[in-house]
Protein backbone atom coordinates (compact mmCIF):
# COMPACT_ATOMS: atom_id res chain seq x y z
CA UNK A 1 0.00 0.00 0.00
CA UNK A 2 1.45 3.37 -1.02
CA UNK A 3 -0.77 5.73 0.96
CA UNK A 4 -2.94 5.03 3.94
CA UNK A 5 -5.16 7.47 5.82
CA UNK A 6 -6.24 6.03 9.15
CA UNK A 7 -9.25 7.65 10.86
CA UNK A 8 -8.15 11.13 9.87
CA UNK A 9 -10.08 14.07 11.34
CA UNK A 10 -9.68 17.80 10.97
CA UNK A 11 -11.61 20.34 12.99
CA UNK A 12 -11.45 24.06 12.30
CA UNK A 13 -12.55 25.37 15.68
CA UNK A 14 -16.10 24.03 15.86
CA UNK A 15 -16.37 23.02 12.20
CA UNK A 16 -15.67 19.38 11.41
CA UNK A 17 -14.11 19.51 7.94
CA UNK A 18 -12.91 15.91 7.79
CA UNK A 19 -14.36 13.23 10.07
CA UNK A 20 -12.84 9.77 10.72
CA UNK A 21 -11.79 9.50 7.11
CA UNK A 22 -10.11 6.28 5.92
CA UNK A 23 -8.58 5.88 2.52
CA UNK A 24 -5.89 3.71 1.03
CA UNK A 25 -4.18 3.88 -2.33
CA UNK A 26 -2.11 1.13 -3.95
CA UNK A 27 0.88 1.82 -6.11
CA UNK A 28 -0.07 2.35 -9.76
CA UNK A 29 -3.72 3.22 -9.09
CA UNK A 30 -5.66 6.18 -10.41
CA UNK A 31 -8.12 7.09 -7.67
CA UNK A 32 -10.79 9.76 -7.86
CA UNK A 33 -11.80 11.65 -4.75
CA UNK A 34 -15.21 13.14 -5.42
CA UNK A 35 -17.98 14.87 -3.57
CA UNK A 36 -20.12 18.02 -3.60
CA UNK A 37 -18.56 21.47 -3.11
CA UNK A 38 -17.27 21.96 0.41
CA UNK A 39 -17.26 18.22 1.15
CA UNK A 40 -13.65 18.33 2.34
CA UNK A 41 -11.77 17.04 -0.72
CA UNK A 42 -9.14 19.77 -0.84
CA UNK A 43 -8.84 19.59 2.94
CA UNK A 44 -7.84 15.93 2.62
CA UNK A 45 -5.07 16.95 0.18
CA UNK A 46 -3.90 19.67 2.54
CA UNK A 47 -3.77 17.18 5.40
CA UNK A 48 -1.75 14.66 3.37
CA UNK A 49 0.76 17.31 2.26
CA UNK A 50 1.16 18.82 5.72
CA UNK A 51 -0.32 22.23 4.95
CA UNK A 52 -2.54 21.81 8.02
CA UNK A 53 -1.95 19.67 11.08
CA UNK A 54 -4.37 16.81 11.74
CA UNK A 55 -6.73 16.95 14.68
CA UNK A 56 -6.78 13.14 14.93
CA UNK A 57 -5.60 10.14 12.96
CA UNK A 58 -2.53 8.97 11.14
CA UNK A 59 -1.18 9.12 7.59
CA UNK A 60 1.34 6.58 6.32
CA UNK A 61 3.08 7.04 2.99
CA UNK A 62 5.34 4.35 1.55
CA UNK A 63 6.02 2.94 5.01
CA UNK A 64 6.78 6.35 6.59
CA UNK A 65 4.54 8.10 9.08
CA UNK A 66 3.97 11.54 7.51
CA UNK A 67 1.31 12.71 9.96
CA UNK A 68 3.45 15.53 11.39
CA UNK A 69 5.60 16.30 8.37
CA UNK A 70 5.73 19.78 6.88
CA UNK A 71 4.92 20.45 3.19
CA UNK A 72 8.52 20.55 1.94
CA UNK A 73 9.34 17.32 3.79
CA UNK A 74 6.34 15.59 2.27
CA UNK A 75 7.57 16.68 -1.16
CA UNK A 76 11.00 15.26 -0.39
CA UNK A 77 9.42 11.87 0.33
CA UNK A 78 7.84 11.86 -3.12
CA UNK A 79 4.37 13.40 -3.03
CA UNK A 80 3.73 16.00 -5.73
CA UNK A 81 0.60 18.11 -5.82
CA UNK A 82 -1.21 20.82 -7.75
CA UNK A 83 -3.35 23.67 -6.51
CA UNK A 84 -6.72 24.93 -7.72
CA UNK A 85 -5.91 28.59 -7.27
CA UNK A 86 -2.44 29.99 -7.74
CA UNK A 87 -1.17 26.89 -9.49
CA UNK A 88 2.18 28.37 -10.53
CA UNK A 89 4.89 31.03 -10.18
CA UNK A 90 3.24 33.70 -12.29
CA UNK A 91 6.29 35.94 -12.74
CA UNK A 92 8.44 33.10 -14.07
CA UNK A 93 8.33 31.75 -17.60
CA UNK A 94 6.91 28.27 -18.15
CA UNK A 95 10.40 26.80 -18.33
CA UNK A 96 11.55 28.74 -15.24
CA UNK A 97 8.51 27.40 -13.38
CA UNK A 98 9.62 23.83 -13.93
CA UNK A 99 13.32 24.60 -13.44
CA UNK A 100 12.54 26.32 -10.12
CA UNK A 101 10.48 23.30 -9.09
CA UNK A 102 13.52 21.03 -9.52
CA UNK A 103 14.76 21.89 -6.08
CA UNK A 104 15.26 18.29 -4.97
CA UNK A 105 16.62 16.32 -7.92
CA UNK A 106 19.51 16.95 -7.92
CA UNK A 107 19.95 19.15 -4.86
CA UNK A 108 22.61 21.85 -4.91
CA UNK A 109 24.23 23.63 -1.97
CA UNK A 110 24.18 27.41 -1.59
CA UNK A 111 27.99 27.49 -1.64
CA UNK A 112 28.06 25.38 -4.79
CA UNK A 113 25.80 27.95 -6.44
CA UNK A 114 27.91 30.85 -5.16
CA UNK A 115 31.18 29.46 -6.51
CA UNK A 116 29.56 28.03 -9.63
CA UNK A 117 31.29 24.68 -9.10
CA UNK A 118 31.46 22.01 -11.79
CA UNK A 119 28.91 19.92 -9.86
CA UNK A 120 26.54 22.87 -9.68
CA UNK A 121 26.82 23.55 -13.42
CA UNK A 122 26.27 19.88 -14.20
CA UNK A 123 23.22 19.77 -11.91
CA UNK A 124 21.67 22.84 -13.51
CA UNK A 125 22.30 21.51 -17.03
CA UNK A 126 20.60 18.24 -16.16
CA UNK A 127 17.71 20.12 -14.54
CA UNK A 128 17.16 22.14 -17.70
CA UNK A 129 17.20 18.99 -19.81
CA UNK A 130 14.73 17.19 -17.53
CA UNK A 131 12.46 20.26 -17.44
CA UNK A 132 12.30 20.35 -21.22
CA UNK A 133 11.48 16.62 -21.24
CA UNK A 134 8.57 17.20 -18.87
CA UNK A 135 7.27 20.11 -20.96
CA UNK A 136 7.49 17.92 -24.07
CA UNK A 137 5.65 15.11 -22.33
CA UNK A 138 2.76 17.37 -21.31
CA UNK A 139 2.58 19.30 -24.57
CA UNK A 140 3.77 22.62 -23.14
CA UNK A 141 7.01 22.86 -25.12
CA UNK A 142 5.56 25.43 -27.52
CA UNK A 143 4.83 27.92 -24.75
CA UNK A 144 8.01 27.38 -22.72
CA UNK A 145 9.11 31.03 -22.92
CA UNK A 146 5.73 32.55 -22.04
CA UNK A 147 5.34 34.12 -18.63
CA UNK A 148 3.11 32.19 -16.22
CA UNK A 149 0.74 35.13 -15.86
CA UNK A 150 0.23 35.38 -19.64
CA UNK A 151 -0.79 31.74 -20.04
CA UNK A 152 -4.37 30.74 -20.79
CA UNK A 153 -6.20 29.10 -17.89
CA UNK A 154 -5.94 25.52 -19.18
CA UNK A 155 -2.20 25.74 -19.77
CA UNK A 156 -1.72 27.08 -16.26
CA UNK A 157 -3.30 24.03 -14.68
CA UNK A 158 -1.30 21.69 -16.91
CA UNK A 159 1.84 23.62 -15.97
CA UNK A 160 0.86 22.90 -12.37
CA UNK A 161 1.13 19.18 -13.20
CA UNK A 162 4.49 19.74 -14.93
CA UNK A 163 5.74 21.53 -11.82
CA UNK A 164 4.56 18.72 -9.56
CA UNK A 165 6.38 16.16 -11.73
CA UNK A 166 9.66 17.93 -10.96
CA UNK A 167 9.66 16.44 -7.46
CA UNK A 168 9.73 12.98 -9.15
CA UNK A 169 6.63 11.92 -7.27
CA UNK A 170 5.62 8.38 -6.44
CA UNK A 171 2.21 9.84 -5.68
CA UNK A 172 0.62 12.79 -7.44
CA UNK A 173 -2.32 14.67 -5.94
CA UNK A 174 -4.26 16.64 -8.56
CA UNK A 175 -6.76 19.17 -7.25
CA UNK A 176 -9.41 19.62 -9.96
CA UNK A 177 -7.05 19.32 -12.94
CA UNK A 178 -9.76 20.36 -15.43
CA UNK A 179 -11.54 23.00 -13.36
CA UNK A 180 -13.20 25.62 -15.53
CA UNK A 181 -11.58 24.42 -18.74
CA UNK A 182 -12.86 24.62 -22.31
CA UNK A 183 -13.24 21.40 -24.31
CA UNK A 184 -9.85 21.69 -26.05
CA UNK A 185 -8.20 22.50 -22.75
CA UNK A 186 -9.74 19.41 -21.17
CA UNK A 187 -8.20 17.36 -23.99
CA UNK A 188 -4.80 18.86 -23.19
CA UNK A 189 -5.21 18.11 -19.49
CA UNK A 190 -6.53 14.57 -20.04
CA UNK A 191 -3.68 13.82 -22.43
CA UNK A 192 -1.25 15.06 -19.80
CA UNK A 193 -2.79 12.94 -17.04
CA UNK A 194 -2.83 9.88 -19.27
CA UNK A 195 0.86 10.25 -20.12
CA UNK A 196 1.75 10.76 -16.45
CA UNK A 197 -0.18 7.54 -15.64
CA UNK A 198 1.80 5.67 -18.29
CA UNK A 199 4.97 6.71 -16.48
CA UNK A 200 3.74 4.60 -13.58
CA UNK A 201 2.93 7.48 -11.24
CA UNK A 202 0.14 6.80 -8.77
CA UNK A 203 -2.52 9.54 -8.93
CA UNK A 204 -5.27 10.71 -6.63
CA UNK A 205 -7.43 13.41 -8.16
CA UNK A 206 -10.25 15.60 -6.99
CA UNK A 207 -12.68 16.21 -9.81
CA UNK A 208 -16.24 17.14 -10.77
CA UNK A 209 -15.94 16.38 -14.45
CA UNK A 210 -17.43 12.92 -15.19
CA UNK A 211 -15.27 12.52 -18.27
CA UNK A 212 -12.21 12.57 -16.04
CA UNK A 213 -13.78 10.44 -13.32
CA UNK A 214 -14.52 7.70 -15.89
CA UNK A 215 -10.75 7.27 -16.25
CA UNK A 216 -10.36 6.33 -12.60
CA UNK A 217 -9.76 2.76 -11.43
CA UNK A 218 -11.70 3.51 -8.26
CA UNK A 219 -13.49 6.44 -6.66
CA UNK A 220 -13.92 7.52 -3.07
CA UNK A 221 -16.95 9.70 -2.36
CA UNK A 222 -16.81 12.19 0.50
CA UNK A 223 -19.61 14.38 1.88
CA UNK A 224 -19.53 16.60 4.97
CA UNK A 225 -16.05 15.27 5.67
CA UNK A 226 -17.08 11.60 5.78
CA UNK A 227 -16.57 8.79 3.34
CA UNK A 228 -20.01 7.77 2.04
CA UNK A 229 -19.03 5.35 -0.70
CA UNK A 230 -16.10 3.67 -2.37
CA UNK A 231 -15.63 1.39 -5.35
CA UNK A 232 -15.71 1.31 -9.15
CA UNK A 233 -17.25 4.28 -10.95
CA UNK A 234 -20.31 2.30 -12.04
CA UNK A 235 -21.02 0.93 -8.60
CA UNK A 236 -20.66 4.30 -6.92
CA UNK A 237 -22.95 5.89 -9.49
CA UNK A 238 -25.80 3.65 -8.41
CA UNK A 239 -25.18 4.21 -4.71
CA UNK A 240 -28.26 5.74 -3.01
CA UNK A 241 -26.31 7.95 -0.66
CA UNK A 242 -24.14 9.34 -3.45
CA UNK A 243 -27.19 10.22 -5.52
CA UNK A 244 -28.72 11.88 -2.49
CA UNK A 245 -25.54 13.85 -1.78
CA UNK A 246 -25.31 15.18 -5.31
CA UNK A 247 -28.92 15.64 -6.31
CA UNK A 248 -30.92 15.83 -3.10
CA UNK A 249 -33.76 13.46 -2.12
CA UNK A 250 -36.59 14.42 -4.43
CA UNK A 251 -34.47 14.63 -7.56
CA UNK A 252 -33.02 11.13 -7.86
CA UNK A 253 -32.68 9.91 -11.46
Amino acid sequence: MLLELDKVSKHFRGLVAVDNFDMSVDAGELVGLIGPNGAGKSTVFNLITGVWPLTKGKIIFDGTDITDKRPHEVAELGIGRTFQLNPLFSDFTVLQNVVASFHLHPKSSVLGALFNTATYRRNEASIKEQSLEILNLLGLDKVKDEFGKHLPHGHRLVLGIARALAVKPKLLLLDEPTRGMSLEEIDLALGAIERVCQQGVTIVLVEHNMEVIDFCDRVVVINFGRKIAEGSVDRVRKNEEVIKAYLGDSNAD
Partner: protein, 328 residues
Protein backbone atom coordinates in the same frame (compact mmCIF):
# COMPACT_ATOMS: atom_id res chain seq x y z
CA UNK B 1 -1.92 38.48 2.53
CA UNK B 2 0.66 38.09 -0.17
CA UNK B 3 3.53 40.38 -0.95
CA UNK B 4 3.71 41.00 -4.67
CA UNK B 5 6.84 42.35 -6.27
CA UNK B 6 7.35 43.14 -9.93
CA UNK B 7 10.12 40.79 -11.00
CA UNK B 8 11.84 40.80 -14.31
CA UNK B 9 13.14 37.63 -15.82
CA UNK B 10 16.88 37.06 -15.75
CA UNK B 11 16.99 38.28 -19.33
CA UNK B 12 16.62 41.89 -18.23
CA UNK B 13 20.19 42.87 -17.56
CA UNK B 14 21.41 46.43 -17.91
CA UNK B 15 24.64 45.42 -19.59
CA UNK B 16 27.08 42.61 -20.25
CA UNK B 17 30.04 41.73 -17.96
CA UNK B 18 32.34 43.74 -20.22
CA UNK B 19 30.52 46.91 -19.22
CA UNK B 20 31.16 46.26 -15.55
CA UNK B 21 34.84 45.43 -16.08
CA UNK B 22 35.22 48.69 -18.02
CA UNK B 23 33.44 50.60 -15.27
CA UNK B 24 35.72 49.03 -12.67
CA UNK B 25 38.81 50.14 -14.61
CA UNK B 26 37.46 53.69 -14.92
CA UNK B 27 36.68 53.75 -11.20
CA UNK B 28 40.16 52.43 -10.42
CA UNK B 29 41.91 55.35 -12.17
CA UNK B 30 39.35 57.99 -11.14
CA UNK B 31 41.15 59.21 -7.98
CA UNK B 32 44.13 60.21 -10.14
CA UNK B 33 41.94 62.91 -11.68
CA UNK B 34 39.81 63.93 -8.71
CA UNK B 35 41.69 66.24 -6.44
CA UNK B 36 38.81 67.27 -4.19
CA UNK B 37 38.70 65.18 -0.97
CA UNK B 38 35.06 66.16 -0.64
CA UNK B 39 34.20 64.53 -3.96
CA UNK B 40 36.11 61.39 -2.97
CA UNK B 41 34.14 61.38 0.28
CA UNK B 42 30.84 61.46 -1.61
CA UNK B 43 31.94 58.54 -3.77
CA UNK B 44 33.04 56.60 -0.66
CA UNK B 45 29.64 57.14 0.95
CA UNK B 46 28.01 56.08 -2.32
CA UNK B 47 29.94 52.79 -2.23
CA UNK B 48 28.88 52.12 1.36
CA UNK B 49 25.23 52.82 0.67
CA UNK B 50 25.22 50.79 -2.53
CA UNK B 51 26.27 47.83 -0.39
CA UNK B 52 23.56 48.49 2.19
CA UNK B 53 20.81 49.01 -0.38
CA UNK B 54 21.70 46.03 -2.57
CA UNK B 55 21.74 43.76 0.51
CA UNK B 56 18.38 45.28 1.52
CA UNK B 57 17.01 44.25 -1.85
CA UNK B 58 18.40 40.72 -1.42
CA UNK B 59 16.05 40.22 1.53
CA UNK B 60 13.27 41.86 -0.48
CA UNK B 61 13.63 39.23 -3.23
CA UNK B 62 12.71 36.54 -0.70
CA UNK B 63 9.38 38.33 -0.24
CA UNK B 64 10.09 40.01 3.10
CA UNK B 65 10.25 43.73 3.82
CA UNK B 66 13.09 44.12 6.33
CA UNK B 67 12.27 47.38 8.07
CA UNK B 68 15.18 46.94 10.51
CA UNK B 69 17.86 46.90 7.82
CA UNK B 70 19.53 50.19 8.75
CA UNK B 71 19.46 48.89 12.32
CA UNK B 72 21.58 45.91 11.26
CA UNK B 73 24.02 48.34 9.70
CA UNK B 74 24.02 49.93 13.15
CA UNK B 75 24.72 46.62 14.90
CA UNK B 76 27.79 46.15 12.69
CA UNK B 77 28.88 49.75 13.25
CA UNK B 78 28.51 49.83 17.03
CA UNK B 79 29.92 46.35 17.73
CA UNK B 80 32.99 47.08 15.62
CA UNK B 81 33.40 50.62 16.98
CA UNK B 82 33.09 49.55 20.64
CA UNK B 83 35.40 46.57 20.15
CA UNK B 84 38.04 48.80 18.59
CA UNK B 85 37.66 51.85 20.81
CA UNK B 86 36.95 50.34 24.21
CA UNK B 87 38.73 47.01 23.94
CA UNK B 88 41.54 48.04 21.61
CA UNK B 89 40.82 45.39 18.99
CA UNK B 90 42.33 46.12 15.56
CA UNK B 91 39.68 47.44 13.13
CA UNK B 92 40.71 44.64 10.75
CA UNK B 93 39.39 42.17 13.30
CA UNK B 94 36.55 44.24 14.73
CA UNK B 95 34.95 44.80 11.30
CA UNK B 96 34.46 41.08 10.61
CA UNK B 97 33.33 40.71 14.21
CA UNK B 98 30.67 43.43 13.80
CA UNK B 99 29.54 41.92 10.49
CA UNK B 100 29.27 38.43 11.97
CA UNK B 101 27.31 39.69 14.97
CA UNK B 102 24.89 41.45 12.59
CA UNK B 103 24.55 38.19 10.65
CA UNK B 104 24.07 36.20 13.87
CA UNK B 105 21.31 38.51 15.05
CA UNK B 106 19.84 38.32 11.54
CA UNK B 107 19.69 34.52 11.82
CA UNK B 108 18.36 34.60 15.39
CA UNK B 109 15.50 36.93 14.59
CA UNK B 110 15.12 35.28 11.18
CA UNK B 111 14.27 32.02 12.89
CA UNK B 112 11.04 33.03 14.69
CA UNK B 113 10.32 35.69 12.07
CA UNK B 114 10.45 33.23 9.18
CA UNK B 115 6.99 32.04 10.23
CA UNK B 116 5.61 35.53 9.68
CA UNK B 117 4.91 36.74 6.22
CA UNK B 118 4.53 40.02 4.39
CA UNK B 119 2.93 42.71 6.50
CA UNK B 120 3.47 40.88 9.77
CA UNK B 121 7.16 40.47 9.10
CA UNK B 122 7.39 44.15 8.16
CA UNK B 123 5.72 45.18 11.42
CA UNK B 124 7.83 42.96 13.66
CA UNK B 125 11.06 43.99 11.95
CA UNK B 126 10.04 47.61 12.33
CA UNK B 127 9.76 47.13 16.09
CA UNK B 128 13.05 45.27 16.15
CA UNK B 129 14.72 48.20 14.39
CA UNK B 130 13.34 50.55 17.03
CA UNK B 131 14.59 48.19 19.71
CA UNK B 132 18.11 48.49 18.32
CA UNK B 133 17.93 52.29 18.51
CA UNK B 134 16.52 52.14 22.05
CA UNK B 135 19.36 49.80 22.96
CA UNK B 136 21.90 52.27 21.64
CA UNK B 137 20.34 55.03 23.72
CA UNK B 138 19.96 52.86 26.83
CA UNK B 139 23.57 51.67 26.93
CA UNK B 140 24.98 55.18 26.60
CA UNK B 141 28.04 54.19 28.63
CA UNK B 142 29.23 52.02 25.73
CA UNK B 143 27.54 53.58 22.75
CA UNK B 144 27.64 57.28 23.55
CA UNK B 145 23.82 57.36 23.52
CA UNK B 146 21.89 59.80 21.36
CA UNK B 147 24.89 62.12 21.07
CA UNK B 148 26.80 59.44 19.18
CA UNK B 149 30.10 57.64 19.58
CA UNK B 150 33.22 59.61 18.70
CA UNK B 151 36.90 58.84 18.45
CA UNK B 152 36.50 55.47 16.71
CA UNK B 153 39.93 54.29 15.47
CA UNK B 154 40.14 54.95 11.71
CA UNK B 155 41.06 52.21 9.29
CA UNK B 156 43.66 54.16 7.27
CA UNK B 157 44.13 57.57 8.89
CA UNK B 158 42.53 60.66 7.43
CA UNK B 159 43.46 60.56 3.76
CA UNK B 160 40.30 59.60 1.85
CA UNK B 161 41.99 57.94 -1.15
CA UNK B 162 42.99 54.62 0.52
CA UNK B 163 39.42 54.33 1.71
CA UNK B 164 38.28 54.86 -1.85
CA UNK B 165 40.17 51.79 -3.05
CA UNK B 166 39.12 49.81 -0.03
CA UNK B 167 35.42 50.55 -0.59
CA UNK B 168 35.71 50.05 -4.34
CA UNK B 169 37.17 46.56 -3.82
CA UNK B 170 34.79 45.68 -0.99
CA UNK B 171 31.70 46.80 -2.88
CA UNK B 172 32.76 45.11 -6.12
CA UNK B 173 33.42 41.75 -4.44
CA UNK B 174 30.24 41.96 -2.33
CA UNK B 175 28.06 42.83 -5.31
CA UNK B 176 29.57 39.94 -7.25
CA UNK B 177 28.67 37.55 -4.42
CA UNK B 178 25.14 38.92 -4.09
CA UNK B 179 24.63 38.83 -7.85
CA UNK B 180 25.86 35.24 -8.09
CA UNK B 181 23.47 34.19 -5.34
CA UNK B 182 20.51 35.96 -6.86
CA UNK B 183 21.03 34.71 -10.39
CA UNK B 184 21.53 31.08 -9.36
CA UNK B 185 19.54 28.45 -7.46
CA UNK B 186 19.21 30.30 -4.10
CA UNK B 187 17.85 33.38 -5.90
CA UNK B 188 15.41 31.22 -7.83
CA UNK B 189 14.19 29.78 -4.52
CA UNK B 190 13.84 33.25 -2.99
CA UNK B 191 11.77 34.49 -5.90
CA UNK B 192 9.70 31.30 -5.89
CA UNK B 193 8.91 31.72 -2.18
CA UNK B 194 8.05 35.39 -2.73
CA UNK B 195 5.58 34.53 -5.49
CA UNK B 196 3.84 31.65 -3.75
CA UNK B 197 5.13 30.03 -0.59
CA UNK B 198 2.54 27.25 -0.88
CA UNK B 199 3.65 26.22 -4.35
CA UNK B 200 7.32 26.59 -3.34
CA UNK B 201 6.84 24.27 -0.35
CA UNK B 202 4.98 21.76 -2.52
CA UNK B 203 8.13 21.24 -4.61
CA UNK B 204 10.33 20.77 -1.56
CA UNK B 205 11.68 24.29 -1.01
CA UNK B 206 12.05 24.85 2.73
CA UNK B 207 10.50 28.29 3.05
CA UNK B 208 11.84 29.08 6.53
CA UNK B 209 15.34 27.95 5.66
CA UNK B 210 15.59 30.09 2.54
CA UNK B 211 14.08 33.14 4.23
CA UNK B 212 16.68 32.78 6.99
CA UNK B 213 19.47 32.40 4.43
CA UNK B 214 18.30 35.60 2.71
CA UNK B 215 18.06 37.40 6.04
CA UNK B 216 21.52 36.16 7.14
CA UNK B 217 23.19 37.24 3.91
CA UNK B 218 21.42 40.60 3.81
CA UNK B 219 22.31 41.34 7.45
CA UNK B 220 25.92 40.20 6.95
CA UNK B 221 26.48 42.75 4.20
CA UNK B 222 24.57 45.46 6.07
CA UNK B 223 26.89 44.72 9.03
CA UNK B 224 30.01 44.90 6.84
CA UNK B 225 28.85 48.24 5.44
CA UNK B 226 28.02 49.60 8.91
CA UNK B 227 31.30 48.46 10.45
CA UNK B 228 33.48 49.87 7.68
CA UNK B 229 31.47 53.08 7.78
CA UNK B 230 32.20 53.43 11.52
CA UNK B 231 35.96 53.18 10.97
CA UNK B 232 35.76 55.53 8.02
CA UNK B 233 33.75 58.36 9.52
CA UNK B 234 35.12 57.71 13.08
CA UNK B 235 31.79 59.05 14.40
CA UNK B 236 28.49 57.16 14.51
CA UNK B 237 25.10 58.23 15.85
CA UNK B 238 21.77 56.41 16.16
CA UNK B 239 19.99 58.56 13.54
CA UNK B 240 21.98 56.93 10.70
CA UNK B 241 20.45 53.57 11.64
CA UNK B 242 16.89 54.62 12.47
CA UNK B 243 13.60 53.62 10.88
CA UNK B 244 13.79 56.71 8.63
CA UNK B 245 17.14 55.50 7.34
CA UNK B 246 15.55 52.17 6.38
CA UNK B 247 12.70 53.99 4.65
CA UNK B 248 15.30 55.89 2.63
CA UNK B 249 16.77 52.52 1.57
CA UNK B 250 13.31 51.44 0.48
CA UNK B 251 12.88 54.64 -1.54
CA UNK B 252 16.25 54.14 -3.26
CA UNK B 253 15.24 50.59 -4.22
CA UNK B 254 11.76 51.52 -5.45
CA UNK B 255 13.02 54.46 -7.51
CA UNK B 256 15.85 52.41 -8.99
CA UNK B 257 13.64 49.40 -9.64
CA UNK B 258 12.90 46.45 -7.35
CA UNK B 259 13.08 43.91 -10.16
CA UNK B 260 16.64 44.74 -11.14
CA UNK B 261 19.87 43.97 -9.39
CA UNK B 262 21.16 47.35 -10.61
CA UNK B 263 18.02 49.13 -9.37
CA UNK B 264 19.38 50.07 -5.91
CA UNK B 265 22.59 51.38 -7.49
CA UNK B 266 20.64 53.65 -9.85
CA UNK B 267 18.43 54.76 -6.95
CA UNK B 268 21.39 55.63 -4.73
CA UNK B 269 23.02 57.56 -7.52
CA UNK B 270 19.89 59.57 -8.35
CA UNK B 271 18.68 60.28 -4.82
CA UNK B 272 21.86 60.33 -2.73
CA UNK B 273 24.88 61.13 -4.87
CA UNK B 274 23.37 63.69 -7.23
CA UNK B 275 21.61 65.70 -4.48
CA UNK B 276 24.87 65.70 -2.52
CA UNK B 277 26.74 67.08 -5.52
CA UNK B 278 24.07 69.76 -5.94
CA UNK B 279 24.51 71.03 -2.44
CA UNK B 280 24.94 74.57 -3.77
CA UNK B 281 21.16 74.42 -4.21
CA UNK B 282 20.65 72.67 -0.93
CA UNK B 283 17.26 74.27 -0.17
CA UNK B 284 15.77 72.90 -3.42
CA UNK B 285 17.16 69.38 -3.07
CA UNK B 286 14.18 67.93 -1.14
CA UNK B 287 11.83 69.22 -3.86
CA UNK B 288 13.94 67.72 -6.63
CA UNK B 289 14.13 64.38 -4.81
CA UNK B 290 10.39 64.38 -4.18
CA UNK B 291 9.75 65.17 -7.84
CA UNK B 292 12.00 62.28 -8.92
CA UNK B 293 10.20 59.89 -6.57
CA UNK B 294 6.77 60.97 -7.81
CA UNK B 295 7.73 60.79 -11.47
CA UNK B 296 9.15 57.30 -11.01
CA UNK B 297 6.23 56.03 -8.97
CA UNK B 298 3.65 57.25 -11.47
CA UNK B 299 5.42 56.78 -14.79
CA UNK B 300 7.92 53.95 -14.35
CA UNK B 301 6.36 50.94 -12.66
CA UNK B 302 9.65 49.02 -12.90
CA UNK B 303 11.82 51.89 -11.67
CA UNK B 304 14.53 53.74 -13.55
CA UNK B 305 16.62 50.61 -14.13
CA UNK B 306 13.53 48.87 -15.48
CA UNK B 307 12.92 51.75 -17.88
CA UNK B 308 16.53 51.72 -19.09
CA UNK B 309 16.22 47.95 -19.62
CA UNK B 310 13.03 48.30 -21.61
CA UNK B 311 14.67 51.04 -23.68
CA UNK B 312 17.75 48.88 -24.35
CA UNK B 313 15.69 45.86 -25.36
CA UNK B 314 13.60 48.13 -27.60
CA UNK B 315 16.81 49.34 -29.28
CA UNK B 316 18.05 45.76 -29.65
CA UNK B 317 14.72 44.78 -31.22
CA UNK B 318 14.94 47.70 -33.64
CA UNK B 319 18.51 46.78 -34.54
CA UNK B 320 17.51 43.16 -35.18
CA UNK B 321 14.63 44.21 -37.40
CA UNK B 322 16.92 46.46 -39.43
CA UNK B 323 19.48 43.71 -39.86
CA UNK B 324 16.87 41.22 -41.07
CA UNK B 325 15.45 43.83 -43.44
CA UNK B 326 18.91 44.60 -44.84
CA UNK B 327 19.58 40.91 -45.25
CA UNK B 328 16.43 40.31 -47.28
Amino acid sequence: MKWKLPYLSNKGKIAKPGFWVGLLIILAVLPLFIKSPYLIHIINMTFIYILVTVSFRTILTSGQLPLAHAGFMGIGAYISAIAAKTFGVSPWLSIPLGALVAMGVGILIGYPFARLRAVYYAMISLFFGMLIISGVKAFAKWTGGAAGLTGIPPLFGFNKVPYYYFFLGLTAVSLLILYRLESSRPGLNWKAIAQSYMVAASVGINEARYRIIASAIGCLFAGIAGATYAHYSTVVGPTSFSFMATIMLLIYVVVGGVGNFTGPIVGIFLLMTVPELLRGFREYVPYISAAIVLIVVFLMPKGVAGLVNSFLSWLAELWKKRRTRDAS
